[in-house]
Symmetry: C2
DNA sequence: CTGAAAGCGCTTACAG
DNA sequence: CTGAAAGCGCTTACAG
């Protein structure tokens, strides 16, 4: 106890919790002793006695690893600053007892709030389990921002439009689009942005150039295989996430096509790999770190004066790199290139 | 309280903690009520009263993101299974007050153990701060396994030898090696493995072919720029991690060289990006998930009968992919290729 | 501005 | 095999 060393009793608590109404002299004295004794209040005791646990949970479903990594980075830093700790939990999106799993976790841990990443933020059972226990929740990039839940997201539609407009500006007209999985909210939003930009520029949307995908490298490669086998090939591909874009690139290079000479490729996310391939990938930088940072803020906001709901939209950024270029003359008709030798 | 519903009092505690000496009948009854009331003991109360916090900390320094991601995956899963929770904390390896930061974190959280990843596991100040507080620690792939600390690692030397032998077997003789940063233990180990394999096969180690690097993409690209400008170029490059290998690949492709036709490239780690590039990267799969899983096990082992020290070596695997191939005839002398057109 | 009491919800010895 | 008591180390009202 810092009490003996100091002079006061649980004024220490007041000082450490930065409560108002402590004499400056006393405060300084207490702080000095705390420093000398390296006294740190125990989280479990504070948590048990008080209303807060100083724990924030980050709930994710693994596959979207790069996405989670970036979000975690932002959340961890903000938690540190605020004297909180970040607890990470992974959970299978399709587990039959997913609500029980969530409930078990939350009721034992009693975090002051939970941050949900896609696709969990669109899972009604997870949401229900959480709200039933009264746990504050922030959804990152959810599909629908309903139920008065707090959400933080970016403008997927607008960003997809920007990517598409970039390709059009580079002279591309036959632009393929690779979709994300149907159960992920971002998929529809990004496709919408693509279509809107195409229509706005008066370009037709060829159904043969809109391929299914599931945000994996393999699905991108598969889509590329189909697209590049078409009689009239696209000159540009907009994959709605980076992993798929990398799949397209790998497949194109494997077939001996030049990127971006014969095919421009754009992705979405600015995942770690995007800058590590050759040519580096044109993509959209999701402000994931900032989003997670804000999510923590919304959860630990001292007063409860914060409206139980909020919908913050963070700024994204188009990152133009080497995988996109102006359409080369007659590229559309250069069917033979697929069989060309990769080396002279 | 499940007490009213059941019949007993804090026998509930015994049942929930799986202590021996409870009548089968009572146990079943308690369990039933627990299930019905969805009763979950509060972590903070258990932690305050008992000796365990059910919290495991994962301490990392960000840059090694892929490494951390894999380790975290394994740790999170094992924690769940065991009813523990994983708290993640990032910390700057070169912060002047790093020990104070660690101390602050640990003394508030009181985790039952901490898992340290490189390079933190080789930071004496971090180690000292932790052991002073009496926090059990497991080091993942540390440089020196001293001080009776528990360690989990792989055979870096052996794995690097395997990679080198693979390249030699493919007919390569002029093999370049790109080192990791000096303060990271794995750097020296991997270089040692490379040199040992070269010597074992009676191949000379040309100092001009051993380049500095710091485990980043940029340093790999830089090394490649130097290597490919040599009069007598290497026909294969062994970069001691994947990020650098990807840098080498990007630079080689940029110069119009064929990979693996003109240059074979191998990495180390099997990071997420390794399989997403074209050609996919030959590398070594670090058993990070299993290592982290075991680290958690060592930390939560119920009895204290576990020796305070342990040094477990996990099996790795050489992953041969498309970036390595047999040396093409006369590749060493094909200096002109760098200026060749990438496309016919 | 500061202190004494009660209590958060469990586990740890200790009795029966 | 099971219970009653004490206490873990803080915070929350409540007095002064």
């Amino acid at each position: 106890m810092a009490r003996e060393a100091g002079v006061s009793i649980k004024t220490v608590s007041r000082v450490l919790n930065r409560e108002a109404g402590v004499h400056e002299h006393t405060r300084a004295q207490v702080l000095a002793v705390v420093e000398r004794l390296k006294y740190r209040p125990k989280l479990s005791a504070r948590s048990l006695a008080g209303a807060r646990s100083f724990l924030i949970g980050l709930l994710y479903y693994d596959p979207s690893a790069a996405f989670v990594g970036a979000a975690q980075k932002g959340a961890v830093v903000r938690c540190r600053e605020a004297g909180y700790h970040l607890v990470v939990e992974s959970i299978e999106d399709h587990a039959p007892d997913i609500d029980a799993q969530v409930d078990r976790m939350v009721s034992a841990l009693r975090p002051d709030g939970m941050i949900l990443t896609p696709p969990l933020c669109d899972n009604p059972r997870v949401l229900k389990a959480l709200t039933e226990r009264g746990t504050p929740v922030v959804l990152i990039s959810p599909g629908e921002h309903d139920a008065g839940l707090m959400t933080v997201r970016m403008d997927d539609v607008g960003a997809a439009e920007e990517v598409t407009r970039l390709l059009i500006r580079l002279g591309h007209e036959r632009i393929a689009f690779i979709r994300g999985p149907a159960d992920q909210a971002a998929s529809a939003l990004r496709q919408h942005g693509f279509e809107r930009a195409m229509k706005a520029q008066g370009l037709p949307i060829d159904p043969a150039l809109v391929c299914p995908g599931d945000f994996t490298f393999a699905s991108g490669a598969r889509a590329a295989r189909d697209l590049l086998a078409l009689r009239e090939r696209p000159t540009a591909v907009f994959a709605s996430n980076d992993d798929m874009a990398l799949g397209v690139m790998a497949e194109a290079l494997r077939l001996g096509l030049g990127v971006p000479a014969d095919l421009s490729i754009a992705g979405f996310d600015d995942s770690p790999g995007a800058a590590l391939v050759y040519p580096p990938l044109t993509t959209v930088r999701q402000p994931l770190e900032e989003m997670a940072r804000l999510a923590v803020d919304l959860l630990i906001t001292p007063g409860e004066q914060e409206p139980e709901s909020a919908d913050r939209v963070m700024a994204h950024r188009l990152v133009v790199r080497g995988s996109t270029a102006t359409r080369s003359r007659g590229a559309t008709r250069a069917q033979g290139a697929a069989n060309a030798m990769p080396q002279p």
